[in-house]
Subunit: 530 residues, 2 copies
């Protein structure tokens, strides 16, 4: 199934906001219902494809037939940009000037190599396309004429090694399909980002994804043991052992390269047994600081839950800690900060960890709220992007951004980003609701995930831009990383360049020039165009 | 204190072999006592230093005075090559043709930058020198005129963050000194490789070191959160957050770069509380295969000991599983394979893990041998290199090599390397004793560490070369990595190039050319000279 072209997910799952929320938006944020002026797909006119017949023919030859080279309007619209709020606002308004010249669907590594050859010969740029869920402009290169390389036909399980607990997956495999294939062998990947229902293995690798169960299963880049990368200069195969001292870890050079170095055509990941037990529970803390300290205790001294997150006061108040509960009559008491701790594994192991973790959380000031908030969180864990669509429909603006830093800097980073967003949007006449949660914990630090809701302003995209810039500046100034799991894309690129530093960027450019001398691959994504 | 120039460690700790071992060597391997013809340090003549007065002056200006630019024979001999067995055999024979032109001792990052500038101006190569413990030719560049950049003056704790549990260390800090500095704050690094007593923080980072407690504390490259690298083109600072999605992980590009990209001048590591409890215990398994399966169980499903290792039948028989016990009257029953499982942490946590791990090991066929073998292993854990000196003194040849792969390939890799070493040395007239242990375990695989002892042959260095080559070929052919923790240096370079593949090597060369355009840094180490 294709994702809703103008929003998120399965159109059948769209859920309008309850009146109570609409009222809240109006009264609290001054959101005015507006003509969303959303067009129907067939009303949108796409610029003519720049693909000439000879190139089209060569591409068709590369991927096994004309059926796999699509230049129809719908295909091109569906591959235009990603799913950030500005992306949605623009496409709803019919702006598809970033549409690819064509959508090409390779079926194999060799097909990809052949496509890259054709594109090099014909001077076409290439942007790999997995689930299309980028929220950082990772699908909108700085070049008009490009091919979206849709990897959906490469969706197989290539190999499984039950003894070593590894599996080799194709990049176009969607996460739920990967889980289904692995489950046949009793395994799970354990990677559940909010984009889970749509995103693909290749995208996870290219963008260094991190899932909601990262406390237990690790980040996606920590799961990757091997990679195959097709580049215009040939194929790179890395990962002969789980760990090695044989030079720099080239896997970690490919992970996060966002299509700028090549196209990931196979990913070998570690897998784990499907857990027997899954328990998610709620806890309340008096303040974000108290809750953060409690999470840090568990992250540093254990026992480590599989899922561990903490909403700040505002997010808890609004109920976003459990999106399912928003607007429901039984919104739980909203004082303080809600945390979710989840445990997955064998019955014995989860019981042990859960009991010990409960002691730690209690000692750190936590109040146990039982399983209900946890189950609610688990049930609603993928629904926030649907909520955003409803907010946009209601005339509100809603966007998220995220960062990470070391524990000692979390308070400063939290305050800096909140202040930047609040001040900028308030000065622009649309005072926002800024919510935050800690979504990923490590021994040495954590991520902060912010959600901003406000009125839209006249030109919603332009209205948001200064706030996003201010947030980015705040992140860098407070010592955070410009992105913990969304990626760089084009949206974060200028700040990423500052974070990596001139010599870091030069080192990466040197790699790019060697693997992609003509600059065909995702131009302007991750790195500035040369 | 300086290390013994012609062997390992503290000369006061040298221990001659017991007669029983000498007898074993003679009867089993045909080792003949030989005139070791070892020279005294002051009998060795060093080639004249190529350093001209102008360069010497410029270097002295860079590092704060003439006292820190040493061209005397002793200094240069002490910085000649590393501590592989061929290195020791050559230096004992008075061969110091690889001596540096000078030993330069910078005191700060800025000093290092200044040295690199001087070297670029004067066409001198630079090889960073930490503990001098390389066993892979990592200190012998393919260029005669070079400076050994001895980092011993850069041995401070720059910063400690007890909340985030991070510490920033200088590269010349030796591991025991790092532990002492951290212990003042209640922390440990937990990195205990066999070279622990001499090796430095910078060397651990540059060579992707892995310690004996890696099951609990992780590899050194997993401990590193930030790095500062001085290059001829400027400074690279990486690591703003424990984890990030901001592009490729540049830390993992610097880790393992072995001085070829720059000089590591600061390392930010994660630290952990000093454990309250340390328990090491012995287990016996009927076979290496049975023991390996038991280790895999713990590595995959836990609970994870802090130390976990398994000697094969030969190593167990010889007693090398506990070097302290070699030749002692009370060598334990030598049937089967000896494993060591160690637990460090809080009392409660070690008790829980120990009891649960014991159940797993017992269910997998293990026989509990009590704490004595564990304590013996712990007591003798750094003594193997002293043992090698004694073996060389007794006229035997002794060397180690190591690799890693995925669990399912361990049996094939084990057999392949054993066979290669045994056949080559037997055909050369010196049938060897080949011993092996699993020294590091991961969810998805493990390392294999081989020790070879044989008679020396007429030219011991030349005699070993075909065996080492055969072992390297066997490693690559059986799917292993050419090095799990010793590094690449010059000795593994040609096989590393095959492991990384042409495009992998080209990507790294592109980085090197950008950071070190004149090829001053560690030429021929890690990567072939351009």
């Amino acid at each position: 199934m294709d994702m809703l072209w103008s929003g998120w997910g399965d159109p059948a799952k769209a859920a309008p906001l309850p009146d109570s929320v609409t009222g809240l938006l109006r009264d609290l944020l001054g959101v005015k219902p507006r003509d969303t002026d959303a067009r129907a797909l067939d009303e949108i006119s796409v610029p003519e494809s720049s693909l000439d017949p000879a190139t089209s023919k060569a591409l068709a030859d590369a991927v096994g037939g004309e059926a796999h080279v699509r230049t129809d309007a719908e295909s091109r619209i569906r591959h235009t940009r990603g799913k950030s709020t500005p992306d949605l606002l623009r496409i709803r308004a019919g702006d598809v000037e970033d549409a690819p010249a064509a959508v090409v669907l390779p079926a194999s590594h060799d097909d990809v190599v052949a496509v890259l050859r054709v594109c090099a010969e014909h001077g076409l740029a290439v942007v790999p396309f997995g689930g299309g869920t980028s929220v950082v402009g990772g699908l909108a290169p700085e070049r008009r004429s490009f091919v979206a390389l849709d990897l959906r036909r490469m969706n197989g399980l290539l190999d499984i090694d039950p003894v070593s607990r590894t599996a080799t997956l194709q990049p176009g495999l969607r996460a739920p399909d990967a889980e289904a294939l692995l489950a046949e062998y009793g395994f799970t990947l354990g990677h559940f980002p909010q984009s889970y229902e749509w995103a693909t293995i290749g995208g996870f690798a290219a963008a260094r994804s991190s899932g909601q169960a990262s406390a237990g299963y690790g980040r996606f880049d920590e799961m990757v043991l091997g990679l195959t990368l097709a580049t215009p200069e040939g194929t790179l195969d890395v990962g002969r052992a789980p760990r090695s001292a044989a030079g720099p870890d080239l896997r970690q050079l490919i992970l996060g390269s966002e299509g700028a170095f090549g196209v990931i055509t196979a990913v070998t990941v570690r897998v784990r047994p499907v857990p027997h037990t899954r328990v998610y529970e709620g806890w309340r803390f008096a303040s974000f600081e108290e809750g953060a300290t409690a999470l840090r205790r568990l992250a540093q001294d254990g026992p480590r839950p599989t899922v561990l997150r903490l909403s700040d006061e505002t997010e808890t108040f609004v109920g976003l800690a459990q999106p399912d509960a928003i607007g429901a009559a039984e919104v739980p008491s909203s004082a303080g900060c809600m945390a979710i701790a989840g445990y997955e594994g064998t019955e014995e192991d989860t019981t042990y960890r859960r009991e010990r973790a409960a002691e730690v959380l209690r000692a750190a000031g936590g109040t146990y709220l039982g399983a209900e908030p946890g189950e609610r969180w688990a049930h609603g864990r993928y629904s926030a992007p649907y909520l955003r669509d409803s907010l946009l429909d209601a005339g509100a603006f809603a966007e998220t951004l995220e960062t990470a830093t070391f524990w000692s800097r979390i308070p400063e980073l939290y305050a800096a980003v909140r202040t930047a967003l609040t001040e900028t949007l308030t000065a622009a006449g649309t005072p926002p609701l800024v919510m935050c949660h800690i979504s990923h914990v490590y021994e040495n630090g954590a991520s902060l995930y912010f959600t901003v809701v406000s009125a839209q302003g006249d030109d919603a995209v332009a209205h948001w831009e200064p706030a996003k810039r201010a947030a980015n500046e705040a992140v860098l100034n407070a010592g955070g990383t410009i992105t913990h799991h969304h990626g760089v894309g084009t949206d974060h690129r200028d700040w990423y360049v500052r974070e990596a530093g001139p010599l870091g960027v030069e080192a990466l450019r040197a790699v790019k020039r060697r693997l992609d001398p003509d600059g065909l691959l995702s131009p302007g994504i991750l790195l500035p165009v040369d």
